[in-house]
């Protein structure tokens, strides 16, 4: 039963992950698992100092845990399921077992205290250790690119046969290969967590997982309890051997109830069938022996130390040149990203936006904005642009660090401004015929002006959305001759981007007359910005012809 639930949950988690693409229907929450996670929610809430409606979903899990107990870890958590399934690699060898079990068990409470204290002081740390963020990240940066590679490989192998069979659609099927920075780092973190199973089953869940720790605080109120029938128990300690969480006590009749994930492995292992999980009302009655350890077992000293550590980390993270330079050296964030300081606090680095990104321009950061910006999404326009008709990154963001915006709003969520570097531009520096940036610009933000007898590209900053198509397509080798700078980016925590753009007098709707005007400027007029009044001056020099005409 438990295996089935875990399999189903892992499948559902994977399915939702796969469905996170720009075709995602509006009603489908692809980030449902992350929304349900109370640790991510609480951390974002404390760090961002704002109530995020979407994270209120986590109350569902909180409520369920209060009622049933800590079932999530044993039945639902996809990382828990993955750890259980991958345990086949470790099961056959004897495990050393952990000597200081009780002390180790406390580590997760310490980590939880550390995360929450850091969040309280404005540093998001929960993402590092939260199982759902961790697994989503592993899926996004490792598993997903690998799966696409294998899929394409299979298609390539079959292609000649498909072609011969006349299955045209399949014969031309190819999935764009996503690539990401940080794939190796993400993999190593995940592999490390799996490898810990060598020491003890579910090592991660037992000793480290802060989400498990958080749920432990709620579970002692739960409806179902592990109970031992004292008449049947022969104190063989099989249950203690079998329990993957170390929840069966040193005295087999007692239970570390905070650690118990109700997986019922102990009940299966018990040779006399003396273990049951009665509902709360019945649990006090005979034949069950009431036996529980105080829950959860946290030493005050450890807790205080961890909390102090979290606060210290948060203060230090805020006192770096990265933080001081935040305004000047912003990265190009996805459209709809809330203001940078809040963004760093709210983003849980799950990677869902980067997975869903239609063009693959969203990439995880390493050090670009300091430790506080690890794995945060940034645009890499030289590699890929932001597509005008896509708004999926905000729609799949579980904490709304990237806001869900209708397409029209998203168009106005300027992420930066293209800056033309004349010393590198083929037209400006070498008098070559090149108009690729103009050709591709979806916002018509690039116009041509006659300068020194030559039509040369110029960026109209008020029309540029920062999408990066120009930077990506620029044929100059190496760094692009036109680069998107964060200059002029609009970052709003709430309110309308359209209104804001209007206030700033930005016009993302093109003025069709503009190109014509500049085309008709006579060559050699040195490119001054004439008003419309300068158009077609009677008696002036004959206008130059548009390019391509003789």
């Amino acid at each position: 039963m438990r295996r089935a639930a875990q399999t189903l949950s892992l499948f559902l988690f994977s399915l939702l992950f796969v469905l996170a693409t720009y075709t995602l229907p509006a009603w489908l929450p692809a980030d449902a698992y992350l929304r349900l996670d109370p640790l991510l929610g609480l951390s974002a809430l404390l760090a961002g100092k704002a109530v995020i409606p979407r994270v209120l979903w986590a109350l569902v899990l909180v409520g369920a845990t209060l009622i049933v107990g800590r079932f999530f870890c044993g039945y639902v958590c996809p990382l828990g399921a993955a750890l259980d399934f991958l345990d086949v690699f470790f099961r056959h060898r004897p495990r050393p077992g952990m000597r200081r079990e009780a002390a180790l068990r406390q580590v997760k409470y310490g980590l939880l205290a550390l995360c929450l204290a850091a969040a309280l002081a404005g540093l998001s740390l929960a993402y590092l250790l939260d199982p759902l963020a961790l697994l989503t990240r592993f899926y996004a940066f490792v598993l997903y690119p690998l799966a696409i590679t294998l899929l394409n490989l299979a298609l390539d192998v079959l292609r000649p046969a498909l072609r011969a069979a006349g299955w045209i659609g399949l014969a031309h099927l190819h999935y764009p290969q996503p690539v990401f920075y940080m794939t190796v780092v993400t993999f190593l973190v995940f592999a490390g967590i799996i490898a810990l199973n060598r020491l003890a089953p579910r090592f991660w869940c037992r000793y480290l997982c802060p989400l498990g720790a958080l749920l432990s605080f709620l579970s002692p109120l739960g409806l179902f309890r592990r109970r031992v029938d004292a008449r049947g128990c022969n104190a063989c300690l099989e249950c203690r051997q079998a329990c993957p969480m170390g929840a069966a006590g040193e005295d087999p009749e007692r239970t570390h109830v905070a650690e118990c994930i109700q997986c019922r492995t102990c009940a299966e292992a018990c040779p006399t069938g003396a273990i049951g999980f009665p509902a709360f009302a019945a649990a006090g009655n005979a034949p069950w022996r009431a036996g529980e350890y105080a829950a959860p077992e946290v030493s005050r000293r450890g807790f205080v130390a961890a909390a102090a550590g979290g606060l210290a980390a948060a203060f230090l993270a805020d006192r770096t040149p990265f933080a001081a330079l935040q305004d000047k050296r912003q990265l190009i964030r996805p459209p709809g990203a809330i203001p940078e300081a809040e963004f760093l606090r709210t983003c849980i680095r799950c990677g869902e936006c980067m997975k869903a990104c239609l063009t693959n321009t969203l990439q995880p950061s390493l050090w670009q904005s300091g430790l506080a910006g690890l794995w945060t999404p940034r645009m890499e326009p030289r590699f890929a642009p932001c597509e005008q008709h896509c708004n999926v990154c905000g729609r799949v963001c579980p904490t709304q660090a990237i806001r869900t915006l209708p397409l029209e709003e998203k168009t106005h969520a300027k992420v930066g401004t293209a800056v033309l570097r004349r010393e590198r531009c083929l037209v400006w520096a070498e008098d070559k015929l090149c108009l690729i940036c103009d050709e591709i610009c979806p916002y018509n933000a690039i116009v041509f002006r006659a300068v020194e007898g030559y039509r040369r590209p110029v960026v109209i900053a008020s029309r540029c959305n920062g999408c990066g198509y120009c930077e990506q397509r620029c044929p100059v080798q190496g760094e692009s001759a036109i680069v998107v700078a964060p200059q002029g980016a609009i970052r709003l925590g709430d309110g309308s981007y359209i209104e804001e753009a209007k206030k700033l007098q930005l016009e993302f709707v093109p003025d069709p007359g503009d190109d014509r005007f500049h085309l008709e400027q006579p060559p050699g007029s040195a490119g001054e910005r004439g008003g419309p009044g300068g158009r077609a001056m009677p008696g002036g020099p004959q206008p130059a012809k548009p390019k391509g005409f003789l």
């Binding site: 239609l358 896509c390 108009l435 050709e439 979806p442 190109d515 548009p546």
Partner: protein
């Protein structure tokens, strides 16, 4: 399409494999068929009706497509805009031609482009995928991978010696070009000849390495559609090729077997960038004409005008 294979390329084995395929496609300068008393058909009307009328006037699709042949249609579906933006071929034009090909007995019709924007989004937002859905034997594909291209030589090319062309084009017996009429910031206008750039892999060298107008004339010599049907129901008269720009409605479909003649007429359907031009003023069309690829003297052409 039969193309001479390039000599001594690094892709010897591919070439050998490709050479093993039997092409049976008589491609010459396929100008007006014998018996035609006109060079061009110009039909005024709504996209679907005008397209149908144009095909009828040319003698029906059976003239171009025989039973069991493979057909490639090359519309412009390079942008993620709906048809009213004037950047892509009208879906009704594509669907009408595709249907006519299947009715003429084609084995299959592949609607093909190498788009400038994300492929799936182009197919969806241009409306072409939807319009062709449900027509048996018709496949709409936007491909962005080099593995779908194969090398081909350019006979007598001035600036291009070899190209990489869609394998499906090389293996098809019939190529029909379905360009959208629009302005183009580099080549002045983008009509039939310019539309062919969506069938080759290395188009960026056209901009960065070659004289694009000469390269286009080479391309027109290498890839010769059997029929060109220019969609000028809407014309993007400035800010082309991607727009957004001014869209006019000439409401015309221009069809013919001479690709240069169709383009030459197309230059006159709208004022580009606010000015009227003659075909001879468009550098790449003139270059194609000078290579002997077709007529440019619109005034002397016999034109059959109809209204749908």
């Amino acid at each position: 399409m039969q193309l001479p294979r390039p000599g001594r390329t690094r892709r010897e084995f591919l070439r050998a494999a490709a050479a093993g395929l039997a092409w049976a496609c008589p491609v010459g300068p396929a100008h007006a068929g014998a018996g035609d008393d006109f060079d061009l058909v110009v039909v005024s009307g709504e996209p679907a009706a005008a397209t149908r009328r144009a095909l009828d006037a040319l003698g029906g699709m059976a003239r171009f497509v025989r039973k069991g042949q493979r057909v490639v249609l090359k519309p412009n579906m390079s942008f993620t805009n709906p048809p009213e933006k004037g950047t892509t071929t009208h879906p009704a034009v594509v669907a009408t031609v595709a249907r006519a090909c299947m009715e003429a007995g084609a084995e299959r019709v592949v609607v093909l482009d190498y788009p400038l924007r994300p492929a799936q989004l182009c197919l969806e937002r241009s409306g072409i995928k939807d319009a062709c859905r449900g027509i048996a034997g018709v496949h709409v594909l936007a491909l962005e991978e080099r593995k779908f291209f194969r090398p081909a030589a350019v006979p007598g090319g001035k600036v291009l010696q070899r190209l990489e062309v869609f394998q499906d084009v090389l293996e098809a017996q019939v190529l029909i070009n379905l360009p959208q009429a629009k302005s183009h910031s580099t080549t002045g206008v983008s009509l039939g000849i310019k539309n062919l750039m969506g069938l080759i892999w290395d188009r960026w060298s056209f901009h960065s390495r070659h004289n694009i107008n000469e390269a286009l004339a080479d391309l027109a010599a290498a890839l010769r559609p059997h029929l060109t049907l220019l969609d000028a129901t809407r014309a993007l008269v400035d800010n082309g090729p991607g727009g957004p720009g001014t869209v006019q409605n000439p409401n015309l479909v221009i069809a013919g077997t001479d690709p240069v003649a169709v383009d030459a007429y197309g230059v006159g359907v709208a004022p580009w960038y606010g000015r009227s031009f003659r075909a001879r003023q468009v550098e790449h069309i003139l270059a194609a004409h000078q290579r002997g690829l077709g007529r440019i003297d619109v005034e002397q052409m016999r034109i059959r005008r109809e209204t749908a």
